[in-house]
Symmetry: C2
Subunit: 676 residues, 2 copies
């Protein structure tokens, strides 16, 4: 096992609550079960670390009338008096202080509710709120808060930037203290579903659903379950073929159906609380129902029916597009693909199928419009998929706080209905779904600090917290994470928040401009390469010439992508003047001399933002240096090293992009700065 | 062992000489030795296959007065009567017919001379020349005719496009029938030195000079020796360090000297006729004397002195440049590097050191000026290094006959002296050297046909033949190879020669224009990518902008590279008007609207040549189809498949380069053809 650190579970003393040492010295409960055990364990770790004093005692009392301490209990009419309209449901909890008995109460309908309540209580303590001031009743906004690992069993991680997998090594499953700590971390931010293997399911991983690995998977599953987390597996759509049992994987073929029926039954015999299947089909070379002339509904429903009897779900990715496009073909538009492939299937998916839709129509770029599928599908379960791993946003060598981006997406109004915000659609508010929420490609690995860059942990933390409570602002989440990780020093909090707060825009400033995306090195996706994908087969072009750049996606003269949106977006995106400027080049091919609302031309905007982005990184470095004395030297140096890498890379981006466009346009920088 | 074919040793019946069946039925000689044995063996294989009839008998006669047959004999005054001024020397031979005794005589001073004479005699037969008409006296023009293998012991070949190595597999040395056949092939074209491992010497290959592999190397050496070939090994300059024996590899350190002395002595104890060391030092990450502040002369001479007592040579590559250039740096010029690094050392190298100098200043591009080192060094042994492997010229998926290019280089007048042609410098004619000649990175692998593309064999064959006789024209060599490979059908000969004859220009037409080079995909070096290296660290730029492209290498305003040439080249290259047009963009940054001597602008020249190049490939395909009935179906299909690949790739080149420059320049094609 590699050494690991505690991230945001690195509890430290909070002076404001130090007076409560003696009053929280006992924990009472008459509940039992693994989640409850872990909740109690968490309190017994956290309280002495945050408040000081001894580890609290533990008292099983059924029924009893305790006084002074913490009570973990079933939510009942006694608690309801405190919260008239609150129904905790599957995952909610109430926290309040019973003054008459000097009791801090954490009440919930379920074990998971108690566990989440305990972590919420700890966060309150970390904020310096004393128990007598606590009064919270909360249920998570998103029913599903899923994490997708792109870990391969060899031990590598696709798009992993934090070392190797802590689940696998050399085709063996690893289960150790780190597995438990990971489950605890995920529970602390409310994650309730985790897929433990890459959506690109290779040869060995295809066998995870067989006896070769299933009993080991069950061991991870049981650890996850003890923290309220359902385990999912990515499956290979061609598994029946690859295992040599059936010569097709046609979803309508009786032999295929039987194969999955038998396989699924066995999985649930071994792991009765198994979450279900995650599937990337007909995508980037993966097999799928298209091979047999079947629809994705045929494909997904077939799997779904085999696991429905056991309460299992199928998570079906919508990342389906032609990845063999000819760059000379200006008509095909990859941005259209997800919508074109799935809109016609609305209403055809079974209840236990959910479509996992990437936030934008392309692939986790620094800036994309919101996928039009969210405003299109109405009778289909949907997950919004985001990427915590910084594949296109600096690969955890750059600071790029992504919660502000995700928040914008959640707040985007699709105008599909009265409750048309993306957050209302994927929370189930709009159409009453229960199998819905968010899924995210995670950024963890076996680096000691879990996420490579210490600052990248905020994205993992923030993802979970945002899913649980979409009403938290990005700043609230960010500052909460800083407090949990670096302690309560306000100077530290201000300094670090100033580094991360607008880092998304900083990255955008020095990378690809105005929504056009890409311009990265092929394959690796790190660092600038303006033409890196320009003549390639991936459908990701900028079509720069000596006059201008951008892709015309209007209905009138372009690929028609703008027409996939509901009004008024469809009309707004149709014309440059009404397209939000940050997406201008995504929707339109514009002259370099076009004037933006700032009064600047596009070419000058490119130059200015690229110089600005680098300056912003320099400011980050100065800020970090200013708190050097307050930061653990090991952490300080790790972050300092990556900041230097970020600066060098930002300069690289600045110079390559500016040079490319100076050479291409022939238009000099108004400010006469050095462009090569 | 993989299956292998006979290439140009695929002897077939020649009707013109069929009347000689009975008159060549006995071979007489009083010579012995392995080379003689192999010469006789070759005659006994070739004669029945070419003339028909039985395998000739063999008669050892010392001394004897044979009549009717073939005599292999020491060249003496009897032969000298026939050739007054001829002295065969180490490798020459005379062939003539003694009418009075009906004897075909092959006479030489050495075994190797006899062997080469035999292969020359066979070539004459293949041309349909009857023995009574034969009268040749020839010595090779180049003293050294070397082949460099870039084979790694894992079995892969750096820049290999014909399968894996036939020398190594999985870190083991392979010795089988193929090894012998290979030596025979090489002898048939006059190769007399072969380095059997990659100049990038990795961990395992470092051990080739140790007992772990040395006895196996000796077995290959002995096979080579029996065909007149010296075996060389590429050595790791840091070998003393890597083997853990000395902690430096400073060439002036006594411990290092002792290490090489001892190692070299042992090598020669085991392999007394070992050729010597080939060294790539201080190049692209390889270790070298620079590490210790020593010169390349220090480095090379130290090694040379350890093997001089045994007659060994050190071949020292001049491919030394800064491969970590910043693209923003317009002053550093990789083209200058070899000259700048070595010119100051002229006269400082020991007699058994030879500098191996790439033909151009960059790296085997489709078009480069001749390296100015050939005109600069005067007191230094030199090899001209060319690349038979088509790294940058289509990777044996494209037809690209390279002999015409090499011939141009050999005929280039450096104006260094009266005998200033490159061929006179590397043949020893100019300065009287004996350790000089050519070396070439070979294109072989374990594909059945040896060279991947059947047509690529002409480059291997042609290299050897050209080294032996620099006065042969590219057409003579090409047609000779066609005859040896495909038989004597004149229609086949014309068709295939029309396909290969100008294929170098065809490749140039559809790839990078006017000497600028590169524009390839990084790392793999196959296929177009105009900006592939433009912002990279390799010093290989085109600096295209909306006005023009090219690198200013003049003395007055550029990098000064033009000044590395003798007059008149220095002045000619200094100005665009006097620079040979095919090198215009190598020496100057020119506007797209500059008029070439054809009357075309540069931009129109780019468009036209790229369309033309594709048309020429289409013609190649038609020509190949026209002789389908006459070609072995296996060979026909192999070549047809590659021609289709070439066409697709040529179209890719055409469209990417034309589109790039249309977008960049904004200048339309005068002929209105489709550019994307």
């Amino acid at each position: 096992m590699t050494k690991f650190e505690k991230c945001w579970l690195n509890y430290s003393l909070v002076s404001e609550v130090s007076g409560w040492k003696d009053k929280l010295s006992c924990i009472f409960t008459n509940l039992d079960g693994k989640c409850i055990e872990n909740a109690v364990k968490e309190l017994r770790v956290a309280i002495p670390e945050i408040i000081g004093g001894n580890t609290p005692g533990m008292c099983i009392c059924a029924p009893c009338v305790p006084s002074e301490g913490i009570v973990l209990k079933k939510y009942d009419k006694e608690d309801a008096e405190y919260y008239d309209d609150f129904c905790p449901g599957d995952e909610g909890y109430a926290i309040y202080y019973k003054t008459d008995k000097s009791l801090l109460v954490i009440a919930a309908d379920t074990d998971r509710g108690i566990l989440y309540g305990v972590f919420a209580f700890i966060r309150q303590l970390q904020k310096g709120i004393t128990p007598d001031k606590m009064k919270i009743a909360e249920s998570p906004k998103m029913p599903f808060r899923m994490i997708d690992h792109w870990d391969n069993m060899y031990g590598d991680i696709e798009r992993g930037y934090s070392g190797n997998s802590f689940f696998y090594e050399n085709y063996r499953i690893i289960i150790d203290d780190r597995t438990v700590f990971y489950a605890r971390m995920m529970a602390s931010i409310g994650i309730n579903a985790i897929a433990i293997n890459n959506v690109n399911v290779h040869q060995t991983e295809t066998l995870l659903i067989t006896d070769k690995y299933l009993y080991e998977v069950k061991r991870i599953n049981d650890i996850f379950a003890s923290y309220g987390i359902k385990l999912y597996l990515s499956v290979n759509y061609a598994a029946p073929v690859e295992m040599g049992d059936v010569d097709v994987s046609d979803p309508l073929d009786e032999r295929v159906i039987k194969w999955w029926e038998k396989t699924s039954k066995h999985i649930y015999d071994v792991i009765p609380n198994f979450g279900g299947y995650l599937v990337k089909a007909d995508s980037e070379g993966r097999p799928g129902p298209f091979t047999y002339g079947r629809t994705h509904a045929d494909g997904a429903n077939m799997l779904a029916r085999q696991i429905a009897p056991y309460g299992g779900n199928v998570v079906w990715r919508c990342f389906v597009y032609n990845c063999r496009q000819d760059w000379r073909d200006h008509k095909t538009d990859r941005a259209r693909a997800a919508y074109d492939n799935f809109i016609g299937l609305d209403g055809e998916f079974d209840d236990n199928v959910v479509l996992q839709i990437k936030n934008g129509p392309m692939d986790f770029q620094i800036r994309e419009p919101v996928s039009p599928l969210f405003g299109g599908l109405k009778k289909t379960n949907m997950f919004l998929e985001v990427q915590i791993a910084q594949e296109y946003t600096g690969q955890q060598r750059h600071i790029c706080y992504l919660v502000p981006m995700w928040k914008e997406i959640l707040e985007f109004n699709t105008y599909a209905s009265e409750n048309g915000l993306v957050k209302d659609i994927v929370s189930g508010k709009a159409y009453g779904n229960t199998l819905c929420g968010l899924a995210a490609v995670t950024n963890t690995g076996n680096d000691a600090n879990w996420t490579g860059h210490d600052m990248a942990a905020v994205n993992l933390y923030g993802y979970g917290r945002m899913c649980f409570d979409t009403e938290l602002s990005a700043e609230e989440i960010g500052r909460e994470w800083i407090r949990a990780t670096f302690g309560n020093d306000i100077e530290i909090n201000d300094a670090i928040y100033s580094m991360i707060g607008t880092s998304w825009h900083t990255y955008e400033n020095y990378s690809s401009p105005l929504g056009i995306g890409w311009m990265v090195n092929p394959a690796g996706h790190y660092g600038p390469n303006v033409d890196g994908y320009e003549y390639d087969r991936w459908g990701t072009y900028h079509r720069s010439d000596c006059k201008g750049l951008g892709i015309d996606r209007s209905v009138a003269t372009g690929t028609g992508y703008a027409g996939q949106y509901n009004e008024p977006w469809s009309s707004l995106y149709e014309r440059p003047e009404t397209t939000p400027e940050e997406l201008l080049l995504f929707f339109h091919h514009m002259d370099y001399t076009y004037k933006l609302s700032s009064g600047k031309t596009i070419i000058q905007h490119i130059y200015d933002t690229h110089f600005k982005g680098v300056e912003e990184v320099e400011t980050m470095i100065n800020t970090w240096n200013s708190i050097k004395e307050k930061i653990d030297p090991n952490v300080f140096n790790r972050v300092a090293d990556r900041l230097n890498i970020q600066l060098e890379s930002a300069i690289d981006w600045r110079d390559r992009v500016n040079t490319y466009y100076l050479r291409m346009s022939g238009i000099a920088d108004e400010k006469g700065r050095t462009i090569y």
